[in-house]
Symmetry: D2
Subunit: 367 residues, 4 copies
């Protein structure tokens, strides 16, 4: 199946393996007229680039993006935007181990079951490098949404046992700490925890939180294409995400209606909610409040301590994984979560233009 394509109007197709020649994405359906250049995309890729802290893989990749089509005289033309990022650090590995056995927590086994064999070099298509295409496409979505007054801020809500409270949130530290936690003390705590993990040849997980501000009411459709349903798919489609919530989310299941309902009120002549337990949607449609999402990320499966597993030839063995691996992927996953949220929201925003006959008539009569 065509599982590397995502979106209805703003549709992206990613391609590429960890140790192949290159990684890339094609955006089909980007509206014409958006100012675009490699300079505008690169900063997003730099946010997920490896080797930026002690807690990410030491693999060296510049992850430099090239735009090959769909941009002319500095603007998107409406034609597909093809972006390519070369893999430069596919060092000549010894792939014997990864080729011959099934690493716990990885997709080696399921790829073999599904496809009969797999590109085992560095995880092939199931590598975290697959997200590069998502980030490049997400950058375009974020830039486009910015033109419409919609913005994102995304950060680490928890890393291992360390959790950021709302009170401790320091907006000035967004994107400024190695762990992605926007609080100096908690960041240091999390760093200490990570160091201990590494010493233990172990790894950690955490929670990424994404806020979307400035979203108009009306996005999303009432039944299967609820905005929150599509955001759930978007975030859970990121490797290692094992749970998704919006607004109160998990906690809402324990509240009563009188605690969880958000009353409406008037604010500057505009209808708004008094609280935002719902996390920005009602009945699957954006309600004008900030959208608040959380992705729960499992610990990196590649750990350096011994693990029990089997070989492709059905022998039980103990393995010791080698190579370059992030002890935690949460900090690098922040921009990936943001990218997926942006792509999903942009698609909903474009689709929503067709909801009302009046506005359609209006749209065409103005032309």
């Amino acid at each position: 199946m065509a599982g590397s394509t995502y979106g209805t109007i703003f549709k992206i197709t990613t391609w590429g393996e960890s140790h192949g020649a290159a990684i890339g994405v094609v955006i089909d359906g980007c509206p014409a007229g958006l100012p675009l250049s490699e300079e505008r995309i690169q900063p997003f890729l730099d946010r997920r680039r490896p080797g930026q802290s002690a807690y990410s893989t030491p693999r060296k990749e510049s992850d430099t993006v090239r735009i090959l089509s769909g941009v002319f005289e500095g603007k998107s033309t409406g034609a597909p935007i093809s972006m390519l990022i070369e893999n430069t650090s596919q060092r000549s590995h010894d792939y014997t181990q990864i080729a011959s056995c099934y690493r716990p927590g990885h997709a080696d086994f399921t790829f073999d079951e599904k496809y009969g064999f797999r590109d085992y070099r560095g995880g092939g298509r199931s590598s975290g490098r697959e997200t590069i295409g998502r980030v490049a496409a997400g950058a375009v979505a974020i830039l486009l949404l910015k033109e419409m007054g919609i913005s994102f801020h995304t950060f680490t809500r928890a890393l291992g046992p360390v959790t950021l409270t709302d009170e401790a949130f320091d907006p000035s530290l967004l994107g400024e700490t190695p762990t992605g936690i926007p609080n100096q003390t908690l960041n240091l705590e999390a760093e200490a925890f990570l160091k201990q993990c590494m010493e233990n040849k172990d790894s950690a997980g955490g929670i990424v939180e994404c806020h979307v501000n400035g979203l108009p009411a009306g996005l999303g459709d009432p039944v299967f294409e609820k905005l929150d349903a599509n955001l759930a798919k978007a975030l859970v489609s990121v490797g290692a995400v094992k749970a998704f919530e919006i607004g109160e989310g998990i906690h809402a299941a324990r509240l009563t209606g009188s605690q969880n309902n958000d009353g409406f009120m008037l604010q500057e002549g505009k209808i708004t909610k008094r609280t935002n337990h719902s996390g920005g949607t009602l009945g699957g449609i954006s309600d004008g409040s900030p959208v608040v999402l959380r992705a729960y990320i499992k610990p990196t499966p590649s750990i350096f301590s011994s693990q029990e597993t089997v070989t492709c030839n059905q022998e039980e063995i103990t393995i010791n994984i080698k190579g370059r691996h992030d002890p935690v992927i949460v900090p690098r996953a922040i921009v990936v979560v943001e990218a997926m949220a942006a792509i999903t929201i942009l698609d909903a925003l474009l689709l929503n233009m067709t909801a009302k006959l009046d506005s359609i008539i209006d749209f065409y009569s103005k032309k």
Copy 2:
């Protein structure tokens, strides 16, 4: 947008409003040859039918299904299966209140924002009755999967403050208690809590858990169409679901890799996982272990205590909701969650048949 259609191969389209003439679903893409009749579908609808306990709306509906097409001589023909359920209890309400103001926690406001107006009778399209079509289609999916040895069990994991532990799980009580909790003591505790909620003119939420057994390895695609990503969309698309998790889910974010990884082993000559923290998928592809899902459901927004809100004419008011409402939807949501999981899994199972050239050649050479 066409938000009432779901699925790629096994594709369903639901339609109908709470107080319209009827509710229905069309299944397009059901394989030919499945034994089908109204008698086989009805039990699934009965599981979500109102009026079966003190904790569901007293609205009286028989929810009797009629199959209008796609079945011939007791079997599916491959043509679309149209199923229709008449609404019989649309009593002549006074709709003034619901028509003129925005109920907290409901989609009244967002429908008006999106479409300019709304069918306000009983919630219209955003009513829980929308799920009838999902359940009828889900019944077909469950019946088909059963022919392939795939089965489901789904139950209430938590209701308000009451939580079922794995130890307390009593399989003989599946589907046998008013709260959906398969344990007699905990069910009574939950009932007591619900009675208190109703006395307080309040409502409750909870957690539904779904297990899928017998799934072959290989279903789902590695990137955007991960099996877990599609299950997340499926479950969060059910009204009132605010969070989704698979396997360890939320908890996985707090574990280390050595705790969370599932080692492989041989069992009767077959490769299996030693544990199932992953919840039945690896890299978005089913791994042969049971799939374990949880949907977090918010408390019913319709509560009988006073709430602050605004009218459509932008006046702040206090409302007291009347009518027939479930104090908790969790017990009736069980079969809806199961239906959505089954539809999603069946689609993945059909799509997976095209993954390998060998099996395709095999398939056609046998014909």
Copy 3:
């Protein structure tokens, strides 16, 4: 596969068999606010209803449409519109013949090959009655497009050997003759030919032509989703259509560039084409000229003279088809062609709203 669903934004799903309980369609994605009622839809169904002339099947069906959802207070709500037409004249046939052998020119054989068996009653899903759902949905599309100043006229361009020239076209006779040819003399000639066909126990084919007026420039996408490509699919998806052309079409293959190119000019300050050989599109995108389409329809396969064929049990036999059959379907196909063109164009019109960033910003800033 889900082959009974069509469209991206304005998405329709048809269902029903010739001799089943009912036939229907669900429209998902109809914009809210369109005035709709059964009275507005019925006239379109009446245009394809059988029994209206000596040249259509004497099967008696009122083909009365019921709207079951998606309309409230006389207007579309944005929710799925479910329409149902009961089959009332499924007379208790002797189906032995059609059940046991493969009629030439029909889908009996291919259904058995694909699905393993078939609903043989009256052709089941492959009957011409399948088009009822298309016409009901097309009526909605035509009514919506009318609100935007877009109109259709569709007629018989040829029937058997009789061809309408442009000079002979009499607009006052559109929809007024039994053959659908808008010219009194040619209509009589065609009627005489049909009578002869019927005497010969034979059948005829012909050409349906559809003009779309008032279409704005810009609809359709440059590569696979060319407006003409989608119109080709739409028309060839109608049973019995064996060829499609736009503008000069077939003839264009014989012209030179200097003959076929349409120069541009200014007309009342607006850029228009001097001629319309292209038939209203350039590079797959509507150019503001009328869209001109032609569907080539094969002769009805059900003829009353003897034919050579085989039984399902692989015996060669001679069959003599009985029952009620149109000697030509061209007159009744007119509204089907128009419906399919309208559904396709409406979808392109809705999709086109997302082409330019400027207009998107404009759209949302006005809200």
Copy 4:
């Protein structure tokens, strides 16, 4: 809209402009295990490469394909296959003319209307070079279908006034003549006609015919996804194709039922049709006979004689087009038509695997 993506299971996305850095395609959903290499793809691209005869543009392009992903150890892995072809001959043109006015028969005007501006260099996205991606993807489809015993032969049926009769067809000349007509005398006649066209500063069109052999019965779906409907879309989506027919096609509209119907018979114990007027489908489903398609191609719009048109600033002018242009595109379109037919058929073949419950159970029980 995402108009550069095509297919449901075997899904391709093309990108690139005539004078951009490169042209490419991503295939998402190619089954794993197909032997693939650049050497196997290149011959197909060579068939459409410019500069191979006196009747194609003298633009020099090697059109060398690079596979960037989805192939490992010489076989497709199931992951997206990204193929890239660099543009090497974007000579530094003077684009003033093409940038400032609307060439007759081209998409300059409609692109401006749709997107607000356009990449005018060499036609940008609406250039014939867009078809390179189709051919690269089509090569993969053709190679895969070949593994299943399905083959194609495609040729020029007519060029300008010269038409190949069935009797004149010489299979040994398939792909061997400059005009694509597999007959030496007729090829020379067509060459003479083309030379005259060029002297007249004019251009020609023609007809491409494609035969698909070895197709099993059962492909395609009965309503909107008829195999012929999708082939119609596929072929008409190729720039310059103005009409489509299958089997008798256009001619069928003039026949009677007794002339056009294909009786069935037994041949070596297998049910087959006595004739093939239907062109290989019945009711939209392949019937086991060869599929016979024809695409009607308009004359190249770029001609060197003077033409009347308008500028983007709305001034009427006379233009004389310069540059490198094919006097006829028919010979180079042959492989494009074949590619589109193959992609469409492969998708139908994959989708058809899910039609019958029995075969699905069979498929999974064998695993």
